[in-house]
């Protein structure tokens, strides 16, 4: 959300955020859902359309800005966060969003990403994580699982993937969340939460690439398996999941384990209670790493949300302070410093 809140007179509809360009993603691509949810949510974030900018890099996901009827910048590969940072510093009054992919943000763009988190630049980053390079036709990405067979790894990849949430937390991100392309309601809620946050809001969206990595997240999205494999995080609520909410999460040391809530031994009260506001990043880090262990559910929701001064706000504060102290600069003050002399 922009620093100077700047609410529209009229109530927008999703259509107001739909550009005149036809959408060029493959039929069935998860990106369609993300676009739809953003367009549905934006009428509720309370920012004037002309004050919203989408910046992206290169990739299927990075085509996103073309389809939003806001200001938009389709950048170059990996540099979306850097372009957006400059824009936000120059124009703190704008609501600046980054649409990016796992190759764009996590591979070539990794440095700009971690520095954005560190500086807490007020950007909303939507990561379309399909664990593959879509636009270049299916090479593995830094979020692809080890052993992944792709065009560039015909015998399987030998590197370990990034855990984007872990990386963001390691880089001190102030807002870290995860959601699913196939869960429109939750996706909408997360978009709103990102919009409300002041500072770098990092939202990882598991997105299905039905052409090159189909079904990567199906166990999290298919009716039969979803409930038992997804843990929906809610502030202040105990961590419960499962078809009949029959499973809970508790900590054994620092290691989250599943407890059975049916067979009486454990109750909801034994479950870990979610606290996204914890000033320490530890809880969030534990949740981000929950899936390190086989058989643990995948947490979705806001893992962390803390408030601290944003980089762009800091810049404004300093300019204000110096200007008050020294008075506004003029060309004469600038050019005629105190060691001039006259020739005549």
């Amino acid at each position: 959300m922009a620093n100077n809140i700047d609410t529209p007179e009229v109530k927008y509809t999703a259509k107001d955020f739909t550009s005149d360009q036809d959408v060029r993603w493959c039929p069935g691509c998860g990106d369609y859902s993300i676009l739809a949810q953003v367009q549905r949510t934006f009428p509720d974030i309370g920012v004037k359309k002309e004050k919203i900018v989408f910046v992206s890099g290169i990739g299927c996901s990075s085509r996103f800005p073309y389809y939003m009827n806001t200001y938009g910048f389709h950048g170059i590969h990996g540099r979306a966060a850097a372009i957006a940072t400059g824009l936000k510093i120059a124009r703190p009054d704008l609501s600046v969003w980054v649409a990016t992919g796992d190759g764009d943000l996590m591979s070539i763009g990794g440095n700009h990403f971690i520095h954005t988190c560190r500086k807490n630049v007020d950007l909303k980053i939507l990561l379309f994580n399909n664990r593959i390079y879509g636009l270049t036709k299916g090479q593995y990405s830094p979020t692809s699982e080890k052993g992944k067979i792709t065009k560039s790894t015909p015998f399987g990849s030998v590197d370990y993937p990034f855990n984007p949430l872990s990386l963001a937390l390691g880089a001190e991100a102030s807002f870290v969340a995860r959601t699913l392309d196939r869960d429109p309601k939750h996706l909408q809620e997360m978009i709103k939460r990102a919009a409300q946050h002041r500072g770098t809001a990092f939202l990882e969206i598991y997105q299905n690439c039905n052409i090159f990595n189909d079904g990567a997240f199906s166990i999290l999205t298919e009716k039969e398996t979803k409930a038992d494999n997804v843990l929906v995080l809610e502030q202040g609520k105990p961590m419960v999941f499962g078809k009949e909410n029959d499973k809970g999460i508790k900590l054994d040391g620092f290691t989250p384990v599943i407890i059975d809530l049916k067979e009486g031994k454990n109750s909801v009260n034994d479950c870990l209670v979610h606290d996204e506001k914890d000033p320490d990043p530890i809880r969030a880090f534990i949740l981000a790493h929950m899936t390190d262990r086989e058989g643990m559910p995948t947490p979705i929701g806001v893992l962390r949300q803390v408030s601290k001064e944003t980089y762009d706000a800091g810049v404004e504060r300093q300019i204000k302070y110096v200007t008050e102290k020294k008075g506004e600069g003029t060309l004469d003050k600038l050019l005629f410093n105190d060691s001039t002399w006259e020739a005549n």
């Binding site: 120059a90 440095n111 060309l331 020739a343």
Partner: protein, 617 residues
């Protein structure tokens, strides 16, 4: 403050002095203080700082020697001087390295305290040159500067380390006396600079005076010298370095255009000072962003430009290389942006603290695809101010990135500058597109520029990016004919700038035997060489390029009027190559790639060689 004195005072028309010592001896500071004071007393001057890439290379080593040369005069100065009249050598290594440049019979002021066995050995002296007669060809004045400084600060309560650190002020005071310069400017500077540490401030002031009075009272000097103020055009002056002038130029451009200034940059020698200066101008609304790397530096500037700022990015060769891809994005999105390259010795990390002109090819040709970008170059420290305004004007008017080339020599060198009055500066007018009717992001105005929209303007929401754009609508287009059209359109737009820039002025005869054509930092050396030879009756003309792409319209014409064209460059002949392809003529390329500016004598000799027996008539 010229003290009363019985000593003989000799008037000189010009002097070149070089301060040399360890990188820890504060020679750069001594030199710049001497320059500022000398400027204040009204001499014209030129400077050449020359220091190693190490911060404080071990004391006494040859590669650790840091030097600062200064040329001041009662008439016009175009260079830092070829051969010093006076060499200040704070240690044996400094003497060893610099002696070869000293003028026959020149003066050596040596700090005898540092000529001990250890230092002599490190400098590779068998015997102490101050004591054998090896320096008999020079006026040798050896002074125990360290101990004299010590005496002066005996009861200052400072540590020995702190005391010795003050010794450069003794040297400075002494040379102030020798050349009859006032102490006040430096005394004031000390006061403000060390305001946080009064003890140090007092010590430095004390030592400065001690040096001055030492000159006054010692028998070592029988004469002192004065150099009358130069007859500079009427006006208010200040001393300015090239990098400072660039900073001032863009703040001025911001004020004249009404656009807030945004700098996205990553530190790199010799460009960092521009970032340092601009980050001090917060109260001018200047926003400086020290990015994580050069790519983020230019990318953030592109973002700021899209947001309606006057956006610039500063760097040097290796950083320029990293910005290449993003420059292409600025070309495709047609956003105003100035990319400033303070050239240094290459290739690769090369010679980071030395000067060179070898990034011209990169600026003109160095991008993927047909990616035309106007290229401008500065020629002197004060010229940096005006070329910065010009680069901003072109970028905004034509909605294009612009490359502004400077170099380490111009950047760190300084000269007196007549401060212009605000009304002497060009207005830079900016028209943001506002009306909804008839808007399209890739419309063209009479300059072939597309509209610039201030984000936040209702109804003008639009998308731009790096894929090929359809003419007018700006939609993504893979249409073959549109691509061909747009490639030629972008080229035509940049070419069109030639109609909007001043024609090339040839100095002296407009035709004849020889024209010396230069660009960038060679201006001073060429000018001095040409003037000296003309004074000897040689007919030789001069022209200097500030617009490297596109060239000024009349350049071809101007060149045709001369039998021979001589192009001196600090590279292997890059401008010559471009001139050859552009005009199908064969200039004489004169190159030197030593990390140092040309000496005017080198250019004089080359001109004489080219003129052969004849004198250009």
């Amino acid at each position: 403050m010229a003290l009363e004195t019985e000593k003989e005072v000799l008037g000189l028309s010009e002097v070149t002095i070089r301060f040399a010592g360890d990188s820890g001896d504060g020679m750069q500071l001594t030199g710049s203080q001497f320059s500022d004071t000398t400027a204040l007393v009204g001499n014209d001057l030129g400077t050449l700082p020359d220091y190693p890439a190490e911060i404080r290379a071990p004391a006494g080593t040859l590669y650790g020697v840091s030097g600062f040369q200064l040329h001041f005069s009662s008439s016009d100065v175009h260079t830092p001087g070829d051969t010093p009249d006076v060499l200040v050598a704070m240690n044996p290594a400094a003497l060893k390295i610099n002696l070869k440049d000293l003028k026959e019979g020149g003066m050596i002021i040596a700090n005898s305290d540092s000529f001990d066995a250890k230092n002599l050995k490190m400098a590779g002296y068998e015997k102490n040159p101050l004591e054998d007669d090896s320096l008999s060809r020079y006026k040798l004045v050896s002074i125990p500067i360290t101990s004299l400084t010590g005496n002066a600060l005996q009861d200052s309560g400072l540590s020995m380390k702190e005391i010795t650190r003050c010794k450069n002020f003794f040297t400075l005071g002494l040379t102030y006396w020798l050349f009859n310069r006032p102490l006040e400017p430096t005394l004031n500077w000390i006061e403000t600079k060390f305001s946080k540490n009064q003890a140090i401030a007092d010590a430095n002031a004390k030592v400065l005076k001690a040096g001055y009075y030492f000159g006054e009272n010692t028998e070592l000097f029988t004469t002192r010298y004065t150099v009358e103020p130069a007859r500079l055009p009427k006006g208010i002056y200040r001393n300015v370095s090239g990098n400072e002038a660039i900073a001032l130029g863009f703040v001025a451009a911001s004020q004249r255009s009404g656009l807030p200034l945004f700098l996205g940059s990553y530190p790199i020698t010799p460009a960092s000072d521009i970032l340092h200066y601009l980050s001090g101008y917060k109260n001018y609304g200047v926003k400086t962003f020290q990015a994580e790397d050069e790519i983020a530096g230019i990318a953030s500037a592109i973002g700021a430009s899209y947001g309606g700022s006057l956006a610039i990015t500063t760097t040097s060769g290796p950083g320029m290389a990293l910005k290449t891809e993003a420059m292409g994005l600025a070309v495709m999105t047609e956003l105003p942006l100035v990319i400033i390259n303070i050239q240094r010795g290459g290739p690769s990390t090369g010679l980071p603290t030395k000067t060179e002109q070898a990034d011209l090819f990169q600026a003109v040709y160095g991008r993927n695809g047909e990616s035309p970008i106007p290229v401008l170059a500065t020629s002197t420290p004060s010229d940096c101010f005006y070329m910065s305004l010009e680069a901003a004007r072109i970028a905004i008017k034509y909605m294009t990135p612009v490359i502004l080339l400077s170099d380490g020599y111009i950047a760190n060198g300084s000269e007196p500058w007549r401060i212009p009055h605000v009304d002497e500066l060009p207005e830079i007018d900016v028209h943001f597109w506002e009306k909804k009717e008839g808007f399209a992001p890739y419309l063209r105005d009479e300059n072939l520029a597309r509209p610039w929209v201030k984000i936040g303007t209702p109804g003008l929401e639009h998308r731009i990016g790096g894929l090929e754009k359809a003419h007018i609508t700006g939609n993504v287009s893979y249409d073959p004919d549109n691509h061909d059209f747009m490639v030629r359109m972008r080229a035509a737009k940049v070419k069109k700038i030639e109609d909007d820039i001043p024609g090339l002025e040839v100095q002296h005869e407009q035709e004849g035997e020889l024209l010396v054509l230069g660009w960038g930092g060679t201006y001073g050396a060429i000018t001095e060489a040409v003037l000296k030879l003309r004074a000897q009756g040689k007919k030789v003309s001069q022209a200097h390029l500030k617009y490297l792409f596109p060239f000024q319209k009349n350049l071809g014409e101007a060149l045709k009027r001369f039998k021979k064209i001589l192009i001196p460059e600090i590279n292997l002949g890059q401008l010559s190559t471009i001139i050859r392809s552009e005009f199908l003529i064969a200039p004489i390329s004169y190159t030197k790639v030593k990390g140092l500016p040309f000496k005017s004598s080198e250019i004089q000799n080359k001109i004489l060689e080219v003129l052969g027996g004849g004198n250009g008539k």
